[in-house]
């Protein structure tokens, strides 16, 4: 289990209202969070690291409170406290046997780093280093850094950068310590910005000013409290890091735009250790874009992020479809007509994974959705009452939030066999969801599905967690499509069964055939290499002219043959995508946007 940590850093944010690992919040190194302890235990099992003072401290500071079980189980079904307890047992035994405690060697570089950030915040202890050495990306091997440094201020960041430059030592930056794409490894210095938690809301200017360690979840929570919203990244991603790496894409980009659209200004430490603000006349032009991999412009230490108004009448709605083409056309039409704020086409894989608290239930729900109800895709829309009303007049059956709540809390019964005959045997000319979507059917549907927090919690096999899930799902936000899209806490469930390797492209939305061809090509390559794959999502932007398309490959990152399959697929994938970017207007690859996330979207969508 220890080796299966997804590195989503969800244990570093209080996304379920359970609180967060106390030692992690105090010590800040990822090593002190459950994610780090999982890595450490896995490394010990492989004899990659010795027992050190830091390792003992990391084990000792875990009080086995069990918060991590709830947080981790929510999206992986794992209970890390088993690993935490095993780590503590191991350390206790080791001490009892009088095992050697290795002291990492102090060197001049570390001394200088201490002089910049303080002794507590730079380390070369292997127990610390190993938690910054690997992630589930199947393309990158483990790389142990020499030092991990946690600066508190921009000037401290600049000081570290200058030292690294002086020593000609490679350096990478991590936001929240979460990592899945293999970008943040080095044998030099890892700068972890987790301590930079400053956050200010400037309502007059509709701007939130955040330091580099602030997560999307924490900022969204704060601005939401004030009746506002930001374009949301994955909850555990840092705001600054996510902008620079991806421009921040979400279902909200339909209305809020992406990349430079959502940012007013930003502060950087340049590769030479100098600092600049993006808004300065003399600043490097980060708004420009090249369709190729480019080096990082520096370290973003602060961002001024745009805030968006929220009306009280917003509601989420799902419009079911039995074909991808119809769903995409509908999403495009909504975007063109400026109906709705957040829009996305989701497939049955996401829909079942997001709504099910366990993979077993997700697997059982899938055929119920697709074969029984005929729901292969949905167009998700968040909109105000005018938008929702407009959609309801467009002549398609819809799943409004009230019906979504019935389905979501009644999911175990939805997947059960006993009632399905009357849909399956009906032999209707229409899709069954048209019957269920009828307003008058709800009392019957409710009687059949028995939607309740206890019902959905009953799907959880672990009896110790059922009460927790029942309490969790009693919270209205857990079945509120607006809240779920605002905070995005269920999207991590897409990787529950295996780590997800995402292929993300911007595509021209008026070229349906091209999108179909791309999807077919992705699927074909995956099939040829024996890789599990599913459509992820598609969100229109810029009035339906373009869209972002995610297609996911799945890989057990601890299974060498699975990793190899992805590695062998890359020589087919890369030229294919590069060719599209070169030959087809409107296609841009997210891989190129990494390090160019501050560019104007027009620069990568229309060039």
């Amino acid at each position: 289990m220890a080796a299966q940590c997804r590195h989503y850093a969800m244990c570093k944010i209080d996304y379920l209202g359970t609180g967060v690992c106390a030692s992690g919040q105090m010590k800040h190194y990822v090593s002190y969070y459950p994610q780090g302890r999982m890595d450490i235990y896995a490394a010990l099992a492989c004899e990659l690291i010795p027992v050190t003072d830091a390792l003992l401290d990391i084990a000792d500071t875990c009080d086995l409170c069990g918060i991590c079980d709830k947080q981790c189980h929510f999206y992986t079904e794992m209970k890390p406290s088993l690993v935490m307890a095993a780590l503590k047992d191991y350390v206790a035994c080791y001490r009892e046997k009088g095992g050697n405690i290795e002291k990492p060697r102090m060197d001049n570089a570390l001394r200088k780093l201490h002089s910049v950030v303080g002794e507590e915040w730079a380390s070369n202890d292997p127990a610390i280093l190993v938690t910054y050495a690997d992630d589930p990306c199947p393309l990158t091997p483990m790389r142990m850094p020499r030092y991990v440094v946690l600066p508190r201020t921009r000037d401290e960041v600049a000081g570290i950068v200058r030292l690294a430059r002086e020593w000609q030592m490679p350096m990478v930056v991590r936001g929240n310590g979460g990592s899945t794409a293999g970008f943040v490894f080095t044998d030099g210095i890892v700068i972890d910005l987790n301590r930079m938690k400053g956050m200010e809301i400037d309502r007059e200017n509709w701007v939130a000013v955040v330091e580099a360690g602030v997560t999307s979840y924490d900022l969204q929570k704060e601005v939401s409290r004030q009746g506002l919203r930001i374009n949301a990244a994955e909850p555990a991603a840092t705001v600054c890091g996510n902008i620079i790496c991806s421009g921040t894409f979400s279902t909200w980009i339909n209305a809020y735009g992406t990349a430079a659209d959502n940012m007013v200004d930003a502060e950087f430490v340049a590769p030479d250790g100098s600092t600049f603000r993006l808004g300065e006349k003399t600043a490097p032009n980060l708004f420009a874009y090249k369709h190729e991999d480019v080096p990082s412009p520096g370290i973003c230490t602060k961002a001024h992020v745009r805030l968006h108004p929220v009306t009280e009448d917003e509601e989420g709605i799902l419009v079911p479809f039995s074909s991808f083409e119809e769903a995409v056309a509908f999403a495009r039409e909504l975007s063109m007509r400026r109906i709705g704020i957040a829009i996305a086409v989701l497939g049955e894989h996401y829909l079942s994974a997001f709504t099910s608290p366990t993979e077993d239930l997700a697997v059982r729900v899938r055929p119920a959705l697709t074969e029984l109800l005929g729901i292969k895709y949905v167009v998700l829309v968040i909109g105000d009452r005018y938008a929702i009303s407009a959609i309801k007049t467009m002549g398609r059956p819809v799943i409004d939030n009230a019906l979504f709540r019935i389905l979501a809390l009644g999911l175990p019964r939805l997947a059960a066999d006993e009632w399905q005959f009357f849909i399956r045997d009906l032999d209707w000319n229409h899709n069954a969801f048209e019957l269920l979507a009828k307003e008058n059917m709800r009392p019957l549907l409710s009687a059949i599905l028995e939607p309740s927090p206890e019902n959905i919690a009953s799907a959880v096999n672990d009896p110790d967690l059922r009460d927790f899930y029942a309490r969790l799902y009693a919270k209205p936000e857990m079945t509120d499509l607006v809240w779920l899209n605002t905070f995005r806490i269920v999207s991590a469930r897409m990787s529950r069964h295996k780590h997800m390797f995402a292929l993300i492209l911007y595509v021209p939305l008026d070229k349906q055939q091209l999108i179909d061809d791309i999807m077919r090509e992705f699927a074909g390559i995956a099939d040829r290499h024996g890789i599990t794959h599913h459509f992820g999502f598609l969100t229109p932007l810029d009035m339906g002219k373009r869209a972002i398309l995610e297609y996911d490959y799945y890989c057990n990152h601890r299974d060498e043959s699975d990793r190899k399959r992805i590695q062998e697929a890359m020589p087919e994938l890369v030229p294919m995508i590069e060719g599209l970017c070169r030959d087809v207007k409107g296609v841009a690859w997210m891989k190129h946007i990494v390090s160019q996330g501050f560019s104007r979207k027009e620069q990568f969508l229309y060039t």
């Binding site: 066999d417 019957l435 019957l444 549907l445």
Partner: protein, 412 residues
């Protein structure tokens, strides 16, 4: 050269005929196959594996269900193949053997879906599948083709439907349409090839009128199953919970032990549902086959249709369910449909044309033989209804009949 009618009759009498039967794992086909075997005929049965069951397992389970004695099974040979594929996906040698051996073909295989969404699959089975079987008939020494069709090839019309090839361009659903097209195809091909042809047109076939046994529980069974599901659902809500879901739908327990389910079902002044039991169909088929060496088109139907009002009455009496009542279309204007009624309305959208059927199926040709052989269609009365429904419940609407069920459906 095909053999003469006399030779066909002689071979049948001497039990030398080899019947090739399609749809033998289906409801009608399996009953025909078993009856042929019981009467000492040789049967070659085309079937394919399904779910996790091999062909042999499927057949063995069926034969167990029929309690067919081993001595009757010796004349059964199962051919594993697919009706959808040319030559049934058999090797040249195996298909060649069929061409050489098969004397007569009984084509029961059919996709009975009404849904337009399943048109491709229905056409594949009912048209393409038929053509593949006809290729066997034309290419080999088959002398007689027995085609199991449906009375509803008549399509949307009122009045009398004759026992002849029909012209219609208005059908209730894709099933009717493809079966009508299929009749033309089979008729033309058999005429061209000099193959004898009988077309059997049953109305809606339910279980055995004497035992209630069946392997299929759709059509007339569906609304009863749904009502019982709703009864159990609300009964549990009242007895085991706070009864709020039941109250919301005005479902309640009456003093006489009846559960009140407020369902109004729209009925028409005329018309009903034409139901025949499987035992009658089999007897009729065998009688017609034996007697009509020149072939023909035969309606195997019930001269007395059952009205929706009767079905409501039977259901109410047998299951102690009140509140169900027939109503005129205007009733829903005064008081809109509740969820239960919407559900039944959806059912009637599919089966309404058969439940409120005003067509009369002429059956002189069939009756000329059947009455002579004393083959009489029993009424679908309360006793027959009770037997059939009790068996359906006993075998949980087919889900408990066979091993390795898939998604609650019988696996065969």
């Amino acid at each position: 050269m095909r053999i003469s009618r006399d030779t066909i009759a002689g071979r049948r009498r001497d039990r030398e005929t080899i019947f090739f039967l399609t749809g033998g794992t289906g409801f009608i086909g399996s009953h025909l196959a078993v009856d042929l075997l019981k009467n000492g005929h040789k049967v070659l049965l085309l079937a394919r594996p399904r779910n996790r069951l091999s062909v042999r397992q499927r057949i063995d389970q069926l034969l167990d269900w029929f309690a067919l004695e081993p001595r009757h099974c010796k004349n059964l040979e199962v051919v594993e193949g697919s009706l959808d594929a040319p030559n049934f996906d058999l090797s040249e040698k195996d298909f060649g053997r069929l061409l050489h051996d098969v004397d007569e073909i009984i084509h029961c295989a059919s996709n009975t879906s009404f849904s337009e969404r399943k048109r491709a699959a229905v056409e594949r089975a009912n048209i393409d599948g038929l053509r593949n079987v006809l290729d066997l008939a034309a290419g080999g020494r088959c002398s007689f083709f027995h085609y199991v069709s449906t009375a509803y090839v008549a399509g949307r019309k009122d009045g009398i439907c004759r026992e002849e090839l029909l012209e219609s361009d208005a059908f209730t659903n894709v099933y009717e349409e493809t079966k009508c097209r299929a009749e033309r195809i089979v008729s033309e091909q058999c005429e061209r090839e000099g193959i004898g042809l009988s077309v059997y047109r049953p109305s809606i076939v339910y279980g055995n009128s004497r035992t209630g046994r069946s392997t299929r529980f759709s059509a007339v069974y569906y609304p009863i199953r749904t009502i019982l599901f709703l009864r159990d659902l609300y009964d549990a809500d009242i007895r085991e919970r706070d009864g709020s879901k039941a109250r919301e739908m005005d479902v309640r327990l009456s003093g006489n032990g009846f559960l009140h389910l407020p369902i109004r079902v729209e009925v028409s002044e005329k018309g009903g549902v034409n139901l025949i039991p499987i035992d009658y169909f089999v007897d009729a088929f065998m009688a017609l086959m034996e007697e009509c060496m020149d072939g023909g088109i035969f309606h195997i139907v019930n001269r007395r249709s059952v009205r929706i009002e009767d079905l409501i009455d039977y259901t109410s009496r047998l299951f102690k369910i009140g509140g169900m009542e027939p109503c005129s279309p205007g009733a829903f204007i005064e008081k809109p449909k509740n969820a239960l009624e919407i559900l039944f309305d959806t059912y009637l959208e599919v089966y309404g044309p058969y439940m409120r059927d005003t067509r009369t199926f002429e059956d002189q040709k069939a009756q000329a033989i059947l009455s002579r052989k004393n083959v009489v269609c029993p009424d679908f009365d309360f006793n027959v209804y009770s037997r059939c429904m009790k068996y359906a419940i006993e075998c949980r609407w087919g889900t408990a009949l066979f091993q390795d069920k898939c998604e609650g459906k019988p696996s065969l």
